[in-house]
């Protein structure tokens, strides 16, 4: 099942992005980041193409979300041009969009499943809960819909501004665990740890 851009209402959220970057109004760099915000938001709107996919096999759901390849290419080009503030802002903004997309998709999925008297149990993350090999197997049914998506030997998705996970199902209304659980990851200094 494929979900196109019409299923998502993504809104750039300046306070959240500045919060992740740690860029507060008391800092001298704030003016540079604030001045770059309109350009970053405009670039993003022109670049992203949010798409999602859902497949089910043996009571296990596979979810794939992507913003497409353009935002990442844009961020890389900005780094090459030494426009580091804009590159950093756009990169973080893309991540905020992807997280927002994830929240919206989780809500949609929850509604759909609950109507079928099914419930999400655990969220399983590639690289933490299952291997890159299994990740590729789980993605295989979706490959024809996303021919340009690649999963590397170490489980990295291309385009980078993408997300994939699996959800186990239950017949009982368990605690919903459909969002990423940062406590499973070893990267202690990740800026999104408390996102």
């Amino acid at each position: 099942m494929i979900f196109g851009p019409e299923h998502f209402r993504l809104q750039p959220d300046a306070p959240e992005v500045f919060g992740w970057l740690g860029c507060g109004e008391n800092l001298p760099c704030y003016a540079a980041f604030e001045a770059a915000w309109p350009e970053a938001a405009a670039l993003l709107q022109g670049d992203i193409c949010p798409m999602a996919a859902l497949s089910e096999h043996d009571d296990l759901l596979t979810v794939f979300l992507t913003l497409g390849a353009s935002p990442e290419n844009r961020v890389n080009a900005l780094f090459h041009q030494q426009k580091y503030v804009l590159a950093s802002l756009l990169n973080t903004l893309c991540d905020q969009m992807l997280f927002q997309m994830n929240h919206q998709f989780s809500a949609m999925l929850q509604k759909k499943l609950n109507a079928e008297h099914r419930f999400m149990a655990d969220r399983l993350e590639p690289g933490i809960d299952f291997s890159p090999q299994l990740q590729r197997q789980r993605f295989a049914p979706l490959q024809s819909a996303f021919p340009d998506v690649k999963i590397s030997s170490s489980g990295i998705l291309t385009p980078a501004k993408s997300m994939m996970y699996c959800v186990t199902l239950s017949q009982h209304a368990c605690d919903q665990a459909s969002l990423h659980d940062c406590s499973k990851c070893s990267q202690q200094d990740c800026i999104y740890r408390k996102a």
Binding site: L21, P28, F33, Q82, N91, G127, S153, S154
Partner: protein, 194 residues
């Protein structure tokens, strides 16, 4: 830009103002000021007291200093399996700010390509930019191949950005057991004259 110091121009990420002040003279003194500020921001960031956005802004303004015509001393690339260039972008940004001449190898780079670059350019540092736990195997492979070629002592090896615990990093054959880009850049500047 009236009324602001060189330090303020860097902190604001104002490359144009920094360029104007450089053209006005005393580039040696301003370079010292720039490096002192980068060190202050890096140390503060590593202690958790200064957000990375300040380093980003300072790095942008530091590009006012032209790259000196020096041979490369380092190469930087995403390890095989890491297809995203964003982590590498941050690493190269900091090296550019410090004025470290580094060769960009791209992403998804096999171990032999890192070694070929090190041999061809007599590089002193190899910076592998990673992302996942699988990067530990890559480092072991690169280290072993370098030893087989008899060139392991020629360069220092670091892993940037990997999602590894400090204990795992410390157990790898790395020359600096910290995967944070800011820490690596500062360490390279301190050890450049090895």
């Amino acid at each position: 830009m009236d009324g602001i110091t060189f330090r303020e121009a860097l902190l604001r990420g104002d490359r144009e103002a920094a360029e104007s002040m450089l053209q006005a003279g005393a580039p040696g003194q301003l370079k010292n000021e720039k490096n002192a500020l980068l060190r202050e921001l890096t140390d503060g960031h590593l202690r958790g007291e200064i957000p990375f956005c300040l380093l980003t802004a300072a790095a942008q303004a530091a590009c006012a200093f032209p790259l000196e015509n020096r041979p490369f001393i380092a190469c930087c690339g995403g390890v095989a399996g890491n297809t995203s260039a964003i982590g590498k972008g941050y690493m190269l940004m900091l090296l550019r700010a410090w004025g470290v001449p580094a060769l960009d190898l791209g992403v998804d780079v096999p171990a032999d390509v890192f070694l070929d670059a090190a041999m061809a350019h007599h590089l002193r540092y190899i910076i592998c930019v990673g992302f996942s736990a699988a990067d530990a195997d890559f480092i072991q492979t690169l280290h072993r191949r370098a030893a087989e070629h008899g060139i392991r002592e020629q360069f220092r090896l670091v892993l940037c950005g990997a999602s590894l615990t400090p204990e795992t990093l410390a157990a790898l054959p790395l020359d600096y057991p910290d995967s944070r880009a800011a820490a690596i850049a500062e360490w390279m500047v301190d050890t450049w004259t090895m």
